[in-house]
């Protein structure tokens, strides 16, 4: 085992929102110190805009802002690369390029793992390789990974049970559907959630649902959809469809996969549904009117039966 401790920086954006539990427990088990960036705010966004191309999607800009914030505070920054999580499926190309973008834009050391199912590198293999790069033995990496994975599972279960209780509330229930990195981000999803809370609405998040029950349901909406994360969103929408009163889809501008997949949802899902596009100029005031009128429409519909 290694003697000195090092600090690995984790930007609180993009894949952090999918994997933070896994990362936290994996690195803790190995005895690596973690340092997180702060939650997204205007400053982070400004930092990100400095580094990125104008047209890049908001989520990527925010990510680069987080990396910039962490850069001089830690020894390494964790930047994973994920091509596919399931066979024949893919992720948005931003996740392919994430490592190379950060590597070219910033002068910092990076810890990296690469998941590519079509080339036979699954998550476990990727984590073992990353452990090796950090100087840990295979056995300790496997142990840490398995343990972290168990905790992830338990954690997901707890979250699911917690959210299931919310469904019984008498208040109006709205499903916020979108990528976890948009939903859980303070700037993007946070803004929408704040407005909804003011309107006294129960918020259901799409990143928590019964994956076992709802697996492959997306095929009824779109049989050839190949973005894993968009499949998840549609699965979740279909899972909650009958349990909520309305659906708000959140997209960061100009998200490639969402632009097409959300169009399919808008066309095929039979429930009050809107697509909110958040860009860097979006403000709570601007969104408020749209969300309010949406909620009013749902309430009116419920009244009329």
């Amino acid at each position: 085992m290694r003697e000195e401790t090092m600090a690995v920086g984790i930007p609180k954006a993009l894949l952090y929102h999918n994997y933070h539990v896994l990362w936290e427990h994996f690195f803790n088990e190995l005895g690596v110190d973690l340092a997180y960036s702060k939650s997204t705010d205007k400053e982070i966004l400004e930092r990100g805009k400095k580094h990125s191309i104008d047209e890049a999607c908001l989520s990527l800009k925010i990510y680069l802002g987080h990396v910039d914030y962490l850069m001089d505070k830690v020894d390494y920054i964790l930047v994973p690369r994920i091509v596919s999580l399931k066979k024949h499926d893919k992720l948005c190309t931003n996740f392919y390029a994430l490592y190379d973008i950060v590597n070219n834009l910033f002068n910092t050391k990076i810890i990296n793992y690469n998941i590519d199912i079509d080339n036979h590198i699954n998550e476990k293999k990727a984590f073992i390789r990353m452990g090796k790069d950090l100087g840990f033995t295979r056995a300790s990496s496997v142990h840490a990974y398995m343990k972290a994975k168990r905790i992830v599972k338990r954690n997901a279960k707890h979250r699911f049970i917690k959210q299931s209780h919310l469904l019984e509330s008498p208040k109006l229930k709205i499903l916020l559907a979108g990528h976890p990195y948009n939903l859980r981000d303070k700037f993007i999803g946070g803004m929408v959630a704040n407005i909804l809370k003011k309107l006294d609405v129960e918020i259901i998040y799409s990143d928590i649902y019964d994956e076992r029950e709802s697996r492959d349901k997306y095929k009824s909406i779109s049989p050839r959809l190949y973005w894993t994360y968009n499949q998840d969103i549609i699965n979740s929408i279909l899972y909650y469809q009958q349990k909520v009163d309305g659906i708000i889809m959140i997209t960061s501008f100009p998200c490639g996969p969402d632009s097409l997949a959300n169009e399919m949802c808008l066309r095929k899902i039979d429930k009050p549904i809107i697509n909110l596009i958040i860009d860097e100029l979006s403000s709570e005031v601007g969104l408020e009117t749209r969300i309010e009128s949406f909620i009013d429409i749902i309430k009116a519909r419920l009244k009329n039966g």
């Binding site: 990125s52 191309i53 047209e55 890049a56 999607c57 990527l60 690369r81 024949h88 948005c92 190309t93 931003n94 392919y96 390029a97 490592y99 190379d100 973008i101 590597n103 070219n104 834009l105 990296n112 690469n114 779109s222 049989p223 050839r224 959809l225 190949y226 973005w227 501008f253 100009p254 490639g256 996969p257 632009s259 097409l260 997949a261 959300n262 169009e263 399919m264 066309r267 095929k268 596009i277």
Partner: protein
């Protein structure tokens, strides 16, 4: 049942080989989609999702215009990025518009493209024999390959033609003859004849002419209407133009080139960065090493893989000291703005050269 009429979206001159393949293998009419006009784009944009990339709108516009002309079978291909998912959304949009049609898509999700194309054609023509299909497929590929080769020659020399329009006229003549190819040998012969005729065309090429490489997203690169005839504009400035991306490259060369590309740009990319991103970085580097004076990178608005590549291209441009200009096309881009920027870029590289 009515007679089947097939159509497919427009992409530069490639409708000729595709039409050739379809007319020989499928017993139905092939309708070339009407040439793209401003109206096509308006139609496409009107029915498209808000910020989908531009090729989607163009293709959708093509489909709507052809459906209005009486087509009832649509073909769409698919690829690495969003392109692979075009087919399904377009099908849904057209259905919601109330059109009646059959939709076939050939996507990369099927591992062996040759088989999946065969299956698609077979469903259009149940009597199709595999070997017949293979024979015509080879001719089609060969035709595309020859067209691309001639295109490369044209791009290098059209800027210096002595008689205006001589290249374009000859190209049209060649494409007309290619349409009526009878077989592989005939095609070879035609290619040799036209290549020598192209080489005989008078050009006035100075010894040290300016050279510009064009890289970027495949559709905007290849479809002249979508990039406002950028290559023609460059030709008028007496510039030699080079571009790696063409259909030959996308269907055949790319498959065998991955490792080579990764080696060329290993300083910048540890992994392929999705769709044609890495290829563009590699071409940028090799064009810089070949002594090109400048690079033009073009893409439709919101093209995710190319935006990823742009972050890295900036660094390549710095390291290899090659100027690079970025053009983004969407349906609101004005041709004047592009012209002005292009002229400024041209003046800049000319000044660099004279230093």
């Amino acid at each position: 049942m009515d007679k089947k009429i097939i159509t497919f979206p427009q992409l530069a001159n490639y409708h000729i080989p595709i039409e050739f393949l379809l007319t020989n293998l499928v017993e139905c009419d092939v309708l070339k989609s009407p040439p793209i006009t401003q109206k096509t784009i308006e139609l496409g944009s009107k029915h498209s999702p808000e910020f989908v990339c531009m090729p989607f709108k163009y293709n959708l516009g093509n489909f709507i215009e052809s459906l209005d002309l009486g087509t009832n079978v649509l073909l769409q291909a698919g690829g690495g990025c969003r392109y692979g998912y075009y087919a399904e959304v377009q099908k849904q949009i057209l259905k919601d518009l109330g059109y009646k049609f059959e939709f076939y898509s050939i996507t990369e999700t099927d591992k062996i493209a040759i088989i999946s194309v065969y299956k698609t054609l077979k469903s259009l023509n149940p009597k199709l024999k595999f070997f017949k299909y293979l024979y015509y497929l080879i001719i089609t590929f060969k035709m595309i390959h020859y067209m691309d080769k001639i295109d490369i020659y044209i791009r290098k020399n059209i800027g210096f033609e002595v008689i205006p329009d001589s290249f374009d006229k000859l190209l049209l003549e060649m494409l007309d003859d290619f349409k009526n190819t009878t077989g592989l040998f005939h095609l070879n012969k035609l290619y040799r004849i036209y290549l020598s005729r192209f080489k005989k065309l008078e050009i006035n090429k100075p010894n040290k002419n300016l050279k510009i490489g064009v890289i970027g997203e495949l559709y905007t690169l290849m479809e002249p209407f979508s990039n406002y005839d950028l290559e023609k504009m460059l030709a008028k400035m007496n510039v030699e133009v080079s571009r790696y991306t063409n259909v030959t490259y996308l269907i055949i060369t790319k498959r065998f080139n991955n490792k080579k590309m990764l080696k060329i740009c290993n300083k910048y990319c540890k992994y392929p960065i999705g769709a044609d991103g890495m290829d563009n970085i590699a071409s940028a580097i090799s064009l810089a090493l070949e002594g090109y004076d400048g690079l033009i990178h073009i893409k439709p608005f919101g093209c995710t893989p190319e935006i990823g590549a742009m972050h890295i291209l900036n660094k390549v441009s710095e390291d290899y000291k090659i100027p690079i200009i970025y053009f983004t096309f969407d349906n609101q881009t004005s041709i004047e703005g592009i012209k002005t920027r292009l002229e400024a870029f041209y003046d800049m590289i000319k000044m660099r050269r004279s230093k």
